[in-house]
Symmetry: C2
Subunit: 693 residues, 2 copies
């Protein structure tokens, strides 16, 4: 492990996003998603199933207060196995927990997004709203530090009795992420202290000590959250607890088997299969295939990468790399989507990537972004950043409508709207984005990711600034006692140009590491052009000279410019974007005979609105596609047109089967738009993959 | 309705199957399936879940006897909603019903197969076995005629309280089918009388009278069974009861909504959708799309066809034809398989025919055979017979292994064994035939169909013998007071030749109606050859002359030879079989760019055993396939080889996605075998559809 290349994301106080593309997305989150989310968690969205999130916190706080003022007060005990999602009589609620058992996270995800948003766009009213809500949340905490309203309200004797199913440690993880984010954004530590007290309580119950519980999260996230808490507080206990969860996972005898409170009991004999879903079938260092629930999986792997870096654990890093490769080389849609089945929202076997029944949950793509950034923090290798970029521009953004008002959980690569309504196998695929979800994970997850997008653009260590994404921003980089200002502008995602301006009052020794995107064949640095895979020492010298630094090197897809920087220096970069026809590994049965069109980092797709229905009858002329790019053609994005053919469709009264005759083809123009923009013009067919001619 | 063209199947006493192909299948049923089935329904199959069928009948009989000997005996009442499939302690069974609630039909289906088998192969020991079992079954009948052990044993107060789910009228239907078959085969009427008493009881409870219940079967079959009972007894009440069930179905308010004993209640608001599954969403005459559970559907349509014919109901016949066309032109696999989803074992929407997730239940194909024969009885039109033949040689026979020892419920058109084990969406698709099923519908259904296959080969009316299938057989046809002997020999299904020998001691006026199969382009009749679609009057005269009859006509795909027959007359027929490349209607998305290979009535497929794995990489050279037929090449059947190509597979270390390059193709030979024979040489990939070049 080359610890010198380790890096960390920049504090959001240090970096301001100015990017045309991303700023717009962030503004949608700020102006649409965050207010909507607040209404949702306060049950103020007409027509939507109530969240009960704040109601639950208030009730828990109330019960605490009651017990304090009257020690003889006996709290009623409710069953924890049959909780009510939506009570029959909304006007006469009982004093019990309502909603999904992870409903606390509606608030903790919201407050995390709020925190990030405040760093980029201060807003006193919003901060006040959050502060007041935090008061309620903190009042719900038990004296011992425990804070999960489901068990606080329903039955405190059952705390930590069903880690596998009941999401307590997941809720803790989101509380912690939110608390750290809010502390880092505002300097206010009330929620952070609450998270610490809860973490301390968990630490007192879980661990390697003889009397301690050997359990671990049923839905991972606490692993990476504890690492953030460790960063924020310097408390090694939190790092160790995270490591404990990771080390303990998948050991035999299986901890989850010792729990007796499960609602669903797997069949006897099914000794290891049943743990795949939770990535608890094997010790994590022995896992070599991404399995089970995709979000859980990538959240775990993100935590593993954190621990591998912080504890310099080569074995754990090797497992991370094996799992990364398994996903990227065997189990990922071209859009970055992962988890190809709705059965368990899970990974299946290698190369099983059905386009019309994909799950490809938005949250799983977000989790891949977490994983990628953490791998980049260990080793700046463009293969991680390339995937991170692909996820962001495709599998993540497709989850939200262009107006920020509706969302996809599931991100299919092929849609026939009729099938989504009439074929039970595809009921999980929605032909149109939804306003909100009872189980609201994806919209708030998009909100917290997009609000903190700057934390993915660059990372840094003592002397190096790594530019992973060419995102317009202004940042300050400390070099020793000095501060260097860096301003990045870019034409991404539709133009491959970027400019980096560095200002330093005094000369500083610094390295700038610039990712060479995998979709570009060439790069131009201050006028020096080369093919990406043919950058010779001579060219590097020329680049170094042109940029006025002492050395230029290439390593793992990054161009390193090192030397003394002073005054105002400018770098002009260009990574020419071209339309590329992509094919899948021939082992992907669903994509055989088909191709996909990409442009720079963007995967494109066909929509019915531009191409008529029956997209399966279309074929792309791969030999002579004659691609044409028209700027701002569709919803403000460039469209791509190409030569294609339409196969003759059904003839009036045609039999279901007939003697084969060469089908008649009519020349036509195919029109592609960026995948993430699909379904912003009403319902219709969509397909990423098109048959080739 | 042209009642002169109506016809009936021949009594199995009148016709003996001698066909090489079918006789072998019948012998498998006689020697393998029927004995195995007997063991199964007596819980004597080691390793298989017990049926409890005969145990339930015995217990019901015992309870009856107890009550008769001791009128004060109080039978315990069990819940009818939580019945036990397999009790935990097999050694200490309680006096209650066990197994599926339609378990009675394990016996009634068996006795029906036994009956048919006895007509073709008398067997005193088997008949004795059946007689003894019938004694037990009849003893289980209540004094009022009711006979369903589930309710007799568990709770008689609940009789007919849940027609939608609980299969009572389905069990009645199978009892009736078995009883009529056994009576017709043996002349013994004990079971028939029992069925009549039960029918009378049902008739006393259901009907249009004011006090009567307006219910109808949740799983259809009683409709066609009652028609058989009417034929066997001449009792018009049975015909009327069948008609009542058909007329009442789907009327509003929905009868099923009035039942309160349902285990599953559909959501409010879901007013008509929920009845699609049972084909009870609309009055049957208004139904124009095949919906819901495929077996239920085609059993209903068969009953509708019976009633349409017997009551000369044009409206009902029109509905039958509409539904027939909807299935055949929109919802049927090329193998004849119907019901393309496992969700409800049901039809979906038009052209939704996924190959690797097909349900295509063997029983549904069998139901299509029932439907087809009944449509043929109304109108001898080859389009019904062509489908009937396709079902028999493909979708039905694929349900049973060549050794008669294992069975498929589900008949996919494409299989990747790994997917069946690892992808929950395909868990219903088995990569290998199973020994038996707890819910044993398909194996006994195959047994009763194959044992009575002669009833599908020909039908007759007063003066005409219709030959629908060219099946080797010997039959007697009554013409007035005389009996004509007819002997058919044929090379089917792999050779299109057939010979028909007619012997009549005295000259008789008779018409022979011979189906011209849709897969043959030409036909030769006694040396006179013509293209099927170009048979002129001159050719017909020539044919008439050559066969020594006075007239030859073509109508609806049948050649009618009419005149005086006497002495010994021979017809030599030939329908040359060719290999045909078939394509699906371009609206079938799953088959676009693909073709299937057929030979005569047989659909062929590719198997891994002959073609290696990764069948999706193979392509058929459609322009120059150079088909070669090798007799007896695979499992005794002719193989078909063709020129093809194998696309280059995965290269070592290949990325999941790469810039498209024209794939490398290697010439290879493709080897096809009859679809119904797939999976008789161990587990492996299979595909009916192959990509075209």
């Amino acid at each position: 492990m080359d610890t010198k290349r380790f890096s960390d994301p920049l504090s959001l106080q240090q970096i301001k996003v100015t990017d045309n593309f991303w700023k717009k997305e962030m503004e949608l989150v700020r102006t649409e998603v965050i207010p909507y989310q607040w209404d949702a968690l306060n049950d103020n969205v007409p027509g939507a199933a109530p969240s009960f999130c704040m109601k639950n916190y208030k009730l828990a706080a109330d019960l605490n207060a009651r017990k304090k003022s009257d020690p003889s007060y006996e709290q009623p005990v409710w069953t924890t196995s049959n909780f009510e999602l939506v009570p029959e009589d909304m006007d006469h609620l009982e004093e019990r927990f309502y909603g999904f058992l992870f409903q606390d996270t509606d608030f903790t995800k919201w407050v995390e997004a709020v925190a990030y948003s405040l760093t980029q766009h201060p807003d006193a009213a919003l901060e006040k709203l959050a502060d007041d809500a935090i008061d309620v949340v903190c009042a719900a905490q038990l004296d011992n530090g425990y804070l999960d309203t489901f068990y606080i309200i329903n039955d405190q004797s059952k705390i930590f009795s069903n880690l596998r199913d009941n999401h307590e440690l997941y809720c803790f993880g989101h509380l912690t992420e939110g608390a750290v984010a809010y502390y880092e954004a505002t300097g206010k530590d009330k929620l952070l202290k609450t998270a610490c007290r809860y973490a301390d309580y968990i630490d007192s119950r879980f661990g390697s000590g003889e009397d301690k519980c050997k359990g671990y999260p049923g839905h991972e996230i606490a692993e990476m959250a504890l690492v953030r808490l460790y960063h924020a507080t310097g408390e090694e206990r939190y790092l160790n607890l995270s490591r404990f969860f990771i080390d303990e996972r998948g050991k035999k005898p299986y901890y989850f088997d010792s729990e007796t409170d499960h609602k669903f009991t797997p069949k006897p004999g099914d000794t290891s299969l049943r743990h795949f879903y939770h990535q608890a079938h094997l010790p994590v260092r022995e896992q070599n295939e991404a399995t089970g629930h995709a979000v859980r999986a990538v959240y775990l792997y993100s935590g593993m990468a954190d621990i591998a870096r912080l504890t310099e654990d080569e074995g754990l890093l090797a497992a991370c790399n094996t799992l990364w490769d398994n996903i990227v080389n065997k189990k990922m849609y071209i859009t970055g989507g992962i988890g190809s089945t709705n059965h368990g929202e899970a990974f299946t076997y290698a190369y099983d990537l059905p386009n019309d029944m994909a799950y490809a949950e938005t949250c799983a793509s977000i989790g891949m972004v977490f994983f990628a950034r953490r791998m980049l923090q260990i080793k700046p290798d463009a293969r991680y950043a390339n995937i991170m970029e692909r996820e962001l521009f495709n599998g993540v953004l497709s989850g939200m409508a262009l107006d920020g008002k509706s969302f996809f959980y599931v991100n299919p690569l092929e849609v026939l709207p009729k099938a989504c309504r009439e074929d039970a196998r595809k009921f999980h695929v929605k032909p149109i984005r939804q306003k909100w979800f009872g189980c609201a994970c994806c919209p708030p997850n998009i909100a917290r990711l997009l609000s903190s997008i700057a934390a993915y653009a660059c990372t840094e260590n003592e002397d190096t600034l790594f530019v992973h994404l060419y995102m317009g921003c202004e940042l300050k980089k400390k070099i020793g006692e000095n501060k260097v200002s860096v301003q990045i502008t870019s034409g991404f995602p539709y133009h491959g140009n970027a400019a980096i301006e560095i200002n330093s009052d005094v000369p500083v020794q610094m390295t700038l590491a610039l990712r060479l995107p995998d979709w570009a064949e060439k790069c131009t640095v201050n006028g020096v052009t080369s093919k990406n895979d043919e950058i010779t020492d001579a060219i590097l010298s020329e680049i170094a000279a042109s940029t006025d630094v002492s050395s230029a090197n290439i390593s793992d897809g990054y161009l390193y410019l090192s030397g003394t920087w002073s005054g105002n220096q400018k770098l002009n970069l260009d990574f020419p974007m071209t339309v590329r026809i992509m094919a899948a590994n021939p082992s992907v049965r669903e994509d055989i005979g088909k191709v996909a069109v990409t442009y720079g980092p963007m995967v494109y797709c066909l929509e019915e609105a531009d191409n008529g229905n029956n997209l399966h009858l279309l074929r792309l002329n791969c030999e002579d596609p004659d691609f044409k790019i028209t700027p701002d053609a569709i919803l403000g994005a460039p469209s791509i047109t190409a030569k294609g053919y339409r196969e003759e469709g059904e003839k009036e009264g045609e039999n279901l089967y007939h003697v084969y005759q060469e089908p008649k083809l009519t020349k036509c123009e195919l029109t592609f738009l960026p995948y993430y923009m699909w379904n912003n013009r009403g319902e219709g067919e969509m397909s990423v993959w098109v048959r080739k001619m």
